[in-house]
Amino acid sequence: MSKIDLSVSVGPLKLRNPILLASGTVGYGNEIAEFVDLNKIGGIVTKSLSLKPRKGNSPQRVVETPSGMLNAIGLANVGVEEFLKTKIPFLQKFDTAIICNIAASSVEEYVECTKLLTTEKTISAFEINVSCPNVKEGGLEFGNDKKAVARITEEVKKVSTKPVFIKLSPNVSRIFEFALAAKEAGADAVSAINTLVGTSFDINTRKPKIKNITGGLSGPAIKPVALAKVLEIKRNVDIPIIGIGGIFSWKDAVEFMIAGASAFQLGTVNFVHPNISETMINDLILYCEKMKITSIKNLTGSYIL
């Protein structure tokens, strides 16, 4: 039993440790649970839920790029009702934070989803996805409109009985302005970042490799951009940050905390190393010991510029 305290809080939400699994990269937890003891990590963020089930985009949905990948899943999900009926019973079994990610195409839909979910005690917090690049209506557009982000935050906060995190789009000029808008509208934290818009072509067919034409870029390739966005928010807005983007090792995770993240999410890496969220716990402890940090909280925003 180590003397290092790995517990952190993201606004009002207390976590066993800063390790979270990112939305859309672990479904609703059942498959990843075969590789990771969810009781050992900080928590899991569900695939984005919409009011009604979504079929998602036609294939091809994913393609590898240099040190990254593009995806255009199109928010395929079972919908709020089915989630409560068939996914919650599984998640209930774990003593870990269950963060419910919501993606909608209208303010009303965000509110509806929140109302239906907020009564479920298994859910620890909401992450509002205002930034999915792969759905025509809404999604990215919201993410590019400060007023819309403020409005969604405000309305969701009104009906939510749990902490509300706003997941920001990186595809903007000044992300801190969106973090500020979210904060002023009452958000408890922001998650940064979602994927960068990207594409790739088959030079023989001259068609985009992704059926949706563009997709979201994730993985190590985007880590420097994600770190810069987290740092930009940290230096300009006083709000807890959940760092996301290209984390493939405990070292990457530490960089995000140094840049200002209170917790972090693992995304694409789950596809390649599904057990890393659990194996990195010990590495974080060793790092803290080496750096003589007794509580990992103290890493957050500990950059020396």
């Binding site: 036609s58 590898e64 040190s67 990254g68 990948m69 596809f271």
Partner: protein
């Protein structure tokens, strides 16, 4: 489903651009069923970033093998693996072929490297005393793989080896000899061939299973990257990695 550090036993070239990679993993070898696949991290760097999926070609004691053709960066690295190297392998994944339904005769239809899962299937079918008839096709003789299959008739687009035409045409030409037996068709190969085979089965109302392919990110159901249209519900996609890769010809709509 395991995450294993599998030791490379050998890489053997069995055809122009056809390789067998034999790996040691007691867990995977003992749990594997014909038609399942493994997902391999071919390097410990970011290149390639994602795992690469390969059908389980056969098992032997605590070893399993994959059969592959080199088409890009990942397979190129695999082709050059040395005995003793450790590979990070996830598997066995997916569902596999149904071995025990009521049929006496197994009709195996392979297109090119689609022959990969069949050595294992043949071995199991022999155990369960099924009669086996194999059809293997390719563009030319070089693309036509018969490795560890039985009673194989071959088809090549250029007629350089066996029947002159594609493998489904070959099967069609032979069907009268088979028709009246109680049989089941197993197919694996390029999408175009699977579609032809599917049409052939559906039109004649033959029972059949096909092993499909899709680009994948995870291989075990968490990324939603590998959808295939469900035949029964147009609002539903099935996942190749989890609901498949083997589907009944009636269950999916191939693009």
């Amino acid at each position: 489903m395991f995450l294993e550090n599998a030791t490379v036993d050998s890489v053997t070239q069995i055809g122009t651009n056809v390789f067998l990679l034999k790996l040691l993993s007691e867990k995977i070898a003992n749990q594997a069923k014909p038609g399942q696949f493994v997902n391999i991290k071919v390097s410990d760097t970011n290149f390639p970033l994602l795992r690469r999926p390969f059908s389980i070609c056969n098992i032997e004691n605590n070893f399993f093998s994959i059969m592959f053709t080199t088409i890009g960066g990942g397979t190129h690295i695999l082709q050059n693996k040395q005995r003793g190297e450790i590979l990070d392998v996830m598997g066995p994944l997916g569902n596999g072929f149904s071995l025990n339904d009521e049929y006496d005769k197994a009709i195996i239809v392979a297109g090119g490297i689609g022959a990969a899962p069949f050595p294992f299937l043949v071995k199991e079918l022999v155990k369960s005393r099924k009669e086996i008839l194999c059809f293997s096709g390719g563009r030319t003789k070089n693309d036509c793989i018969t490795y560890e299959m039985q009673n194989v008739s071959t088809a090549t687009d250029d007629g350089s080896f066996g029947f002159n035409g594609n493998v489904v045409q070959l099967l069609t030409s032979k069907i009268d000899e088979i028709k009246n037996a109680n049989f089941k068709i197993f197919g694996c190969g390029p999408n175009a061939m699977l579609k032809a085979l599917q049409t052939f089965c559906v039109e004649n109302n033959f029972d059949g299973e096909i092993s499909t392919e899709s680009s994948m990110a995870c291989g075990f159901g968490i990324c939603q990257g590998c959808p295939v249209q469900s035949a029964e519900d147009e609002n539903k996609f099935l996942l190749v990695c989890k609901d498949g890769p083997v589907f009944n010809v009636k269950d999916v709509v191939l693009q």
